[in-house]
């Protein structure tokens, strides 16, 4: 096991940030911690990167104990904190050189590992890191976290605040890194990114709701979800909540996601009900379950 977490709990004053969390990440796996802000993702990262002590439980990273062998872990992991953590007044090249030096290596030595990523920012290597765009900053930060060829890579919300194109590119890079045998633990609040992981843990309020393959997680959803649309989304939400068979109702993009207490819904009856409520242009159609739906269901 590359990462093993057993019954970890951590509180800050009266707030329980992580509550009895256990999971395991296999070697070479791309594992995602998926959850909203404040779910406890960053705390788990900090415990695993030896920055915080857990109140209870044990954890190992690359078979090193996070408390006793913290020095070994610090030699063997790459960490990219949530906040952009590079030196803004140093150039791209200086940042990378600095991180290479403090890990006792050079850019040349591990260039093949970061080549794909670094090649995209290399034209700007004389530019100060503070003047890079969000996407380029992330690429530089990832290069810096990778420069010493870590066994395990910790990426805490690497794509938050990054444009969709760069996000997509970023995940493609992660997939390539994974092929080189690096274990990656990544956290994200974006449910669409979850599908790109090998396995994910859905986490909320410091508790893990479910751990599984993203495809499997979706399969476990108990019932069919319907996309419903009408001319007034707000009225539609209110009306659906009043419907006697309604189980769950929440907005999802341009539609409202609706599940029924019964196995199948009576489309005609529901349409009439909605028309009665003064809604027009009603569309009702079954849809595929997404991870977000699963999360909403589990988080209920």
């Amino acid at each position: 096991m590359s990462i093993s977490v057993k019954n970890i709990s951590k509180s800050f004053k009266d707030v329980t940030a992580v509550n009895d969390v256990s999971f395991e990440v296999k070697e070479g796996e791309l594992f995602g911690l998926i959850g909203p802000d404040g779910a406890g993702k960053t705390t788990i990262f900090r415990i695993l990167t030896t920055l915080l002590f857990a109140d209870k439980g044990t954890a190992t990273v690359a078979n090193f104990d996070v408390i006793e062998d913290y020095k070994e872990i610090r030699n063997n992991v790459g960490y990219m904190p949530g906040r952009f953590s590079l030196y803004q007044d140093l150039t791209v090249e200086e940042n990378l050189t600095f991180f290479a030096t403090i890990f006792g290596t050079t850019i040349e030595e591990n260039y093949d590992l970061i080549k794909d990523i670094y090649i995209q920012i290399e034209p700007f290597k004389k530019r100060r890191a503070g003047q890079l765009s969000g996407g380029m900053k992330q690429k530089l930060a990832l290069s810096c976290a990778l420069i010493h060829k870590p066994k395990v890579l910790f990426l805490d919300e690497p794509t938050t605040g990054v444009d969709p194109v760069s996000r997509k590119e970023f995940w493609e890079m992660l997939k390539r890194l994974q092929k080189k045998g690096i274990t990656i633990l990544v956290s994200t609040p974006y449910m669409d990114e979850a599908a790109l992981c090998d396995r994910i843990a859905l986490i909320q309020d410091g508790k893990i709701l479910q751990i599984d393959d993203p495809k499997e997680i979706v399969k476990h959803f108990p019932t069919t979800i319907y996309d419903i649309k009408a001319d007034n989304i707000y009225k539609l939400l209110v009306a659906l909540k009043e419907y006697k068979h309604s189980y769950s109702v929440y907005p999802f993009g341009e539609f409202v996601h609706y599940t029924d207490k019964r196995d199948a819904i009576d489309t005609k009856e529901l349409t009439l009900f909605l028309k009665d409520k003064g809604l027009n242009n009603i569309i009702i159609q079954p849809t595929e379950t997404t991870i977000e739906d699963t999360f909403m269901e589990l988080a209920k």
Binding site: L51, K71, P81, Y87, L90, T101, G104
Partner: protein, 368 residues
């Protein structure tokens, strides 16, 4: 070692790319020394005075000439009636007015007694006192001159000699003070800010999750500032020697050694501050309030410690700057060797060790 060198290189990048701190580092020492050396002094020079001479005889003329000829006073104007006195003070054109009574000379010879009134502008009490005593001593001198032939039956003659600073130049006391303040400020404030900046930007998190050992991070932070502070100390000493003609009676080597010791003391204080503050703002406030004020007010730099209230005197003992000022004054002005200042040196040394031990104890290898 290579890691450490890389870290130090990074620190120098930070310093040289931040023009504001560069300005503080090198502009302030020069500005402060010049300011204290030229502008802020206790001495009086060319003070404007006015005379109201009601008798206009040979004696008063001679006294007026004597006063005006001294380098301390300038004859600004002659006043011809009482009503003019108030306005000249209000205008601020003179600091003192001398009023000679009528028939000054005549009274002096016939009655052996005559009066001159000295009116000073006491909005600044210190200056007014000094002006007063300078004027009095000129008058006294004159009196001695005219009494040359007469021998008084009993006399106590005082003969004053001001050793170590015979001309009583106030710049001689300001230079050690300014040097202390600058070294304290640059070393303690700048290091504490530079360490907390890493905390604030979140880069400390990455440094912690790296094979760099805590003492390497700290030493790497401190090292550039030792270097810069030494340059500052050299600049200040050179300025005081060449611009203000301040002597260095003792050994320059000893002065250098004591300065480095004090710099390390200030740096360790800076580290200590950074371990207890989490933002640059806090670090700066603690440095300014907790270090600068005591260094300026309680170290004997501006106000003599002996005339402070006793609780403040006690507090002044724990201020490293106080001991350092004693040391530099002793080396530069008295020319003493280590055997005379070993006690002060030992005090600074033990304070330094104390700060270092506490900071190592308080330095966090984790986030909490």
């Amino acid at each position: 070692m290579k890691r450490f060198a890389g870290f130090i290189r990074k620190e120098f990048y930070h310093i040289f790319r931040d023009t504001r701190s560069l300005f503080i580092l090198f502009g302030m020492p020069i500005a402060q020394v010049l300011l204290f050396g030229f502008a802020i002094t206790n001495e009086i020079n060319n003070v404007d005075v006015a005379f109201f001479d009601k008798s206009k005889d040979a004696t008063t003329q001679e006294i007026i000439n004597k006063i005006s000829a001294s380098k301390y006073f300038t004859n600004k104007q002659m006043i011809t009636n009482d009503a003019e006195i108030e306005p000249v003070f209000q205008k601020g054109s003179v600091k003192a007015v001398l009023v000679f009574e009528k028939d000054f000379s005549e009274k002096l010879t016939k009655e052996n007694k005559t009066y001159v009134q000295i009116i000073t502008d006491a909005t600044d009490p210190n200056t007014s006192n000094t002006i007063n005593s300078y004027l009095n001593s000129i008058l006294q001198n004159y009196q001695l001159e005219i009494n040359k032939d007469i021998k008084a039956p009993f006399q106590i003659n005082s003969e004053t000699r001001n050793v170590y600073n015979p001309e009583l130049k106030s710049v001689f006391t300001f230079v050690p003070g300014v040097m202390t303040v600058i070294l304290m400020l640059v070393s303690a404030m700048m290091t504490s800010i530079s360490i907390t900046r890493e905390k604030e930007l979140g880069t400390m998190e990455i440094l912690l999750v790296s094979p760099l050992k805590p003492f390497q991070v700290i030493l790497g932070k401190v090292f550039p500032y030792i270097f810069l502070s030494v340059i500052n100390a050299i600049v200040i000493v050179l300025m005081s020697i060449f611009i203000f003609k301040m002597p260095v009676e003792g050994s320059l080597f000893l002065l250098g050694f004591e300065s480095v010791l004090f710099i390390i003391n200030a740096l360790s204080l800076g580290i200590l501050i950074s371990t207890i503050s989490s933002t640059q703002q806090t670090a700066m406030m603690i440095s300014l309030m907790g270090l600068m004020l005591p260094v300026i007010l309680l170290s004997g730099f501006i106000f003599p410690i002996a005339s402070m209230a006793s609780p403040l005197q006690v507090i002044s003992h724990i201020i490293p700057a106080k001991w350092f000022i004693i040391i530099i004054k002793a080396i530069m002005l008295k020319g003493v060797g280590l055997s005379f200042i070993w006690k002060e040196t030992l005090i600074i040394l033990s304070m330094t060790l104390f700060f270092i031990i506490v900071s190592i104890k308080k330095y966090k290898i984790r986030l909490e």
